[in-house]
């Protein structure tokens, strides 16, 4: 028999204090019934004697201290799952909002998940070809990786993410593939862009959408990514599918978290974000991967907008410490009209080394990648010097490097959002660009590969 309490003592911001409760557990899901019969949901944040502090998932408008009732469900927040989720649209709290029939769940899963035993993980090493040179060639994505896109306001991160979702494939395999898309506090237009892109390519039938728009309650955003990840885990590890999870925008999620933390009057860490932001983000990002006993995988592409393009802001900073690399977008490239505007030098994929090379991409990949990076870096340095002192101040070698840097941006980075390049094509473009430099500069590439792949003119 579930007890109902009419003992709400306080409501402040997203928090509510309920007194004189019995047997309530930490992290339990509660339901608040308003006088008009509508039901809101909440979660226990703290048990202190017979008082519990709960966090609301929806707005507190209409909650009446005298007449609202609270009951606790005896379990945490759960998400009903079934293979029929594919092709459906859910709210940020996991309710179907596409007007379709209610889901008949196979089972209900706790949205917090449980940590994956590191001894039960497989190290991700299967190359995913995204068809984008700056990713495949330089910051290779592999199955089971978490690779965020660090963007800024006004940059086309949505186009890049959609391009990845459209083109990504593992070559020589035709396994089951699904996309889980979580919109966290983004605008209708941005969400609509993704949905219509999925529709256009037919991917929508293999997609599960979780939509929390900017106009929806901010506090609901705390559970949206976890709902999406629970669905992804079910599809990947129980239905053996390869799932690509796109979450946008994590910055909105972190702000919702800050709101709750501030309401609890916790000691803040940097910029007012709670001290446990790292741990909290990690419990989401770490759910990506591959594990023993299952054929599927979760590859995660979270998108976040860096306030003022500042990479040291806590959200991108902590994300970078958890994820396996990052793709950073550059305003400079965007202004030059080079799409996708990837800022190559600070971008990184930590898992690339075991996903490339003979049998995976091509034997010369590792060398070409390192040579392109260091040559581009040197070329950019030379160009900076040229701005200050003029071209005459450069040595002849540095002038070649400057020329290389320009050509690299124009040919390699700038491919547009609709060109799908194979990895061989990407590497061949790389060689063609490197041949601007003298052969003796190819110190990062093994001599036998230089001989084999050096373009013949």
């Amino acid at each position: 028999m579930i007890k109902e309490y009419r003992t709400i003592e306080e409501v402040a911001g997203p928090l509510m204090l309920v007194k004189q409760v019995e047997g309530v557990k930490y992290d339990e899901l509660g339901e608040i019934e308003l006088p008009d019969g509508s039901v809101r949901r909440c979660r226990v944040l703290e048990v202190n004697g017979r008082n519990v502090l709960v966090q609301l998932f929806e707005s507190s408008a209409g909650i009446n201290l005298a007449h609202s009732k609270v009951r606790f469900t005896g379990h945490g927040v759960q998400m009903p799952v079934s293979p029929d989720m594919l092709g459906r649209v859910f709210s940020g709290m996991g309710e179907p909002i596409d007007g379709g029939a209610k889901l008949i769940p196979e089972k209900s899963l706790d949205i917090n998940g449980t940590p994956i035993n590191p001894a039960a993980r497989y190290y991700p090493s299967e190359f995913i070809q995204t068809g984008i040179s700056t990713i495949d060639g330089l910051n290779t994505l592999v199955r089971g990786q978490k690779l965020p896109i660090f963007s800024g306001s006004g940059l086309p991160h949505a186009n890049l993410a959609a391009q990845i979702a459209r083109q990504a494939k593992v070559r020589g395999s035709d396994s089951k593939f699904a996309v889980v898309f979580a919109a966290v506090g983004i605008t209708f237009e941005e969400a609509d862009f993704f949905i219509s892109d999925f529709k256009k390519t037919g991917a929508i039938d293999r997609t599960v959408l979780f939509i929390n728009l900017a106009s929806d309650p901010a506090i609901e955003r705390i559970s949206t990514p976890r709902m999406a990840l629970t669905a992804a885990e079910y599809l990947a590890f129980e239905c053996d599918m390869h799932v690509l999870v796109i979450m946008t925008d994590i910055t909105n999620y972190a702000e919702a978290l800050r709101e709750v933390s501030a309401a609890r009057k916790e000691v803040p860490g940097r910029r007012g974000y709670p001290g446990y932001l790292y741990t909290d983000l990690a419990t989401m990002y770490e759910r990506a991967g591959r594990k023993m006993g299952s054929q599927g995988s979760i590859t995660m592409i979270p998108i976040l907008s860096m306030p003022e393009d500042d990479k040291t802001h806590p959200i991108p900073d902590l994300t970078g410490y958890i994820t396996e690399g990052q793709i950073i977008l550059s305003r400079e490239m965007y202004r030059k009209g080079y799409m996708p505007p990837v800022d190559v030098l600070p971008s990184l994929s930590r898992l690339k080394d075991k996903g490339i090379g003979e049998g995976k991409t091509r034997e010369d990949h590792s060398g070409v990648l390192n040579q392109l990076f260091s040559s581009y870096a040197r070329g950019k340095d030379a160009k900076e010097l040229m701005v200050v002192l003029g071209e005459a101040a450069l040595t002849p070698m540095d002038r070649l490097y400057a020329k290389f840097a320009d050509a690299f941006e124009e040919k390699f980075i700038n491919q547009g959002f609709y060109e799908d390049r194979t990895i061989e094509k990407t590497l061949d473009i790389g060689w063609e660009l490197l041949s601007i430099l003298p052969k003796s500069e190819m110190k990062r590439i093994k001599p036998q590969y230089v001989e084999k792949y050096w373009p013949k003119k």
Partner: protein, 589 residues
């Protein structure tokens, strides 16, 4: 057995009443799920407990039972090549029992109870033994002989000790204490993690820990028994540096602690190390490694315990007289766990919300490193080196954890994102890194590598410093304004950076460089410098000097396998002479 009831639950912090009889730092079991926790504060009847597992589902009135013992690790054969969580639960065994995800309240002994070990006694009936005496051995892995030592605080006469095959829990013998009581001895012993294990005497470290990483061995060496830290922003290559150290350091045992870091990184070590062979023993690297994994999605309180668990195991192997390295990635996550608990305890925060005792706790950890004379009658010497990664927010090393660490450690390898963007790895910044062991180790290097080692490595540091100054001038007035000598300095500095310091961790040859090959690489760079300086002084054009074909050979020397390096080096030296002499002659003619 003290039993209390829960009053309050707030994340990993639980407050229970009825605990007056319990001791501070006792381990308790919380709730019906028997979650593991530790008492960290007492207020009269109430104990504050940090729980090492997820507390969802715990509520008021649930039972809390004290075990009466502090958080301890089990020490004995079977530790090596195992992977544990932050409180020494074996993750492989847990996977076999519970599947791929870690559920709550699992009880699994740290050492395999069913496995038998062949024990060979080193003492006979009637021998008098004291703390630390080795009374027998077990061949734990092919490379490590596990010494079974008399636990600290025990002495007496051996009255029973027989060779044979034993399990961890079997009695292998008896010691009769002077007061007549009998102490039963087993293959394993327990030790509380927060207490450092005793030793006879501490010694200053004078021998380098050879890592095969050129930036480290040549420029910023660490001593066996020393302490070092690796701070750096994300993407600068902290983890790769740590992995390289774990792979190639010339120590006997490595304890690798993944504290609040990525799960895949631990998996990488776990899958890769068994495949790699130790260049010194020819056996698998896993045979000398213990992994402690508390990844970032695992409960935060156990993260706090993980580095103590790791260093206690390390001390145990040090006590056997081995050279041990503890590698902790990352101490910042440990400090954050401390901060989270401190916040929940409503303590007054220090800088950036970290507790005021952050510095002293860090110092306690690093002070457990050192070179020591172990307890025991044979006066054996063991070393314990501690290397911690630090992840400063935004890469800003003025933050409290980095600063507190720098006050204690002797070696600082500062990683630099600007170098990482240029794919200069390891991205150890040569301008702000330091090693306080350089002078102390100079005798060893002069004796064991070459009398010129210190001179050449000192030259590297100097020339890199000059490069930084010259670059400032170039930024202002351009390359043309520099004299030929200065342009040559820039070229040599580039050569030091690209041909010597840059090292590709994932290459079979380049990943590890023997000390004598490192020395040879340096002589090539500076032979070229000496000859080139003469040529430039004679009036040779600097462009021609810098574009000599021999420079590509110098650049490719790092890829030459160890077996051929001397012959190849001789060839290159002759080339240097030939090409530069020809140039000088041409100018003079």
């Amino acid at each position: 057995m003290v039993e209390g009831k829960i009053l309050k639950v707030s994340g990993p912090l639980v407050v229970a009443e009825g605990m007056r009889e319990a001791n501070m730092f006792d381990v308790v079991r919380v709730g019906d799920a028997r979650l593991i926790g530790e008492i960290i504060e007492m207020h009269g009847d109430r104990a504050s407990i940090q729980v090492y597992e997820e507390t969802a589902g715990i509520g008021r009135g649930d039972k809390v039972v004290s075990t009466g013992a502090p958080l301890s690790v089990e020490l004995g054969p079977g530790l090596l090549s195992n992977i544990y969580d932050g409180i020494q639960r074996p993750l492989e065994a847990i996977r076999e029992r519970c599947g791929a995800n870690i559920t709550k309240g699992i009880d699994e002994p740290a050492l395999d109870r069913s496995k038998t070990w062949h024990f060979v006694p080193a003492h006979v009936f009637g021998d008098k033994v004291g703390p630390g005496d080795v009374y027998g051995t077990v061949q734990e892995t092919e490379v490590i002989t596990h010494k079974i030592m008399v636990p600290p605080g025990v002495c007496g006469t051996i009255v029973d000790l027989v060779e044979g095959d034993y399990r961890i829990t079997d009695r292998i013998g008896k010691i009769k204490r002077p007061d007549g009581t009998i102490e039963e001895i087993m293959l394993s012993q327990k030790w509380p993690v927060r207490v450092s294990r005793p030793y006879a005497q501490k010694l200053p470290p004078v021998e380098p820990m050879i890592t095969g990483q050129r930036s480290i061995d040549a420029l910023f060496p660490i001593a066996k028994g020393g302490t070092a830290c690796v701070p750096g922003p994300f993407g600068a290559g902290k983890t790769v540096v740590q992995h390289q150290l774990a792979k190639w350091s010339d120590v006997d045992v490595v304890i690798y602690i993944g504290c609040g870091e990525r799960g895949n990184e631990m998996t990488d070590v776990l899958r890769e190390f068994p495949e790699l062979t130790d260049p010194r023993t020819g056996k698998s690297l896993m045979e000398r490694t213990v992994l402690i994994a508390n990844t970032s999605d695992m409960p935060v309180a156990a993260r706090e315990a993980s580095i103590y668990t790791g260093i206690t195991i390390a001390e145990y192997y040090r006590d056997m007289g081995y050279n041990v390295a503890v590698i902790a990635d990352s101490t910042s996550r440990w400090a954050e766990a401390l901060r989270e608990m401190s916040g929940r305890l409503e303590e007054m925060p220090g800088e950036e919300g970290y507790p005021a005792y952050l510095t002293s706790r860090l110092a306690q950890f690093y002070e457990r490193a050192g070179k020591v004379v172990c307890l025991g009658d044979d006066g054996r010497i063991g070393t314990l080196s501690a290397i911690g990664a630090v992840s400063p927010q935004g890469g800003d090393i003025s933050e409290p954890v980095t600063q507190a660490t720098l006050r204690i450690v002797k070696v600082f390898w500062g990683l630099d994102s600007a170098l990482a963007y240029k794919r200069h790895f390891p991205a150890i910044n040569w301008l702000n890194s330091y090693s306080l062991y350089r002078d102390r180790l100079s005798d060893w290097f002069s004796e064991n590598v070459s009398a010129r080692w210190m001179e050449l490595t000192g030259k590297c540091l100097k020339i890199l410093q000059q490069e930084a100054e010259l670059n400032e001038i170039v930024q202002l007035v351009g390359m043309d304004a520099l004299s030929g000598e200065d342009r040559l300095t820039l070229e040599i500095a580039r050569s030091v950076r690209e041909d010597f310091l840059q090292q590709f961790a994932f290459d079979d040859v380049d990943g590890y460089t023997q000390l004598d090959k490192q020395y040879e690489m340096l002589t090539l760079v500076f032979d070229f410098e000496a000859k080139a300086a003469a040529a430039v002084a004679a009036g040779a054009d600097i462009e021609e000097v810098s574009n000599l074909p021999v420079r590509e050979q110098i650049g490719r020397f790092k890829a030459v396998p160890y077996a051929d390096y001397l012959a190849e080096s001789e060839k290159i030296k002759q080339e240097i002479s030939r090409q530069l002499d020809a140039l000088t002659e041409k100018v003079e003619a």
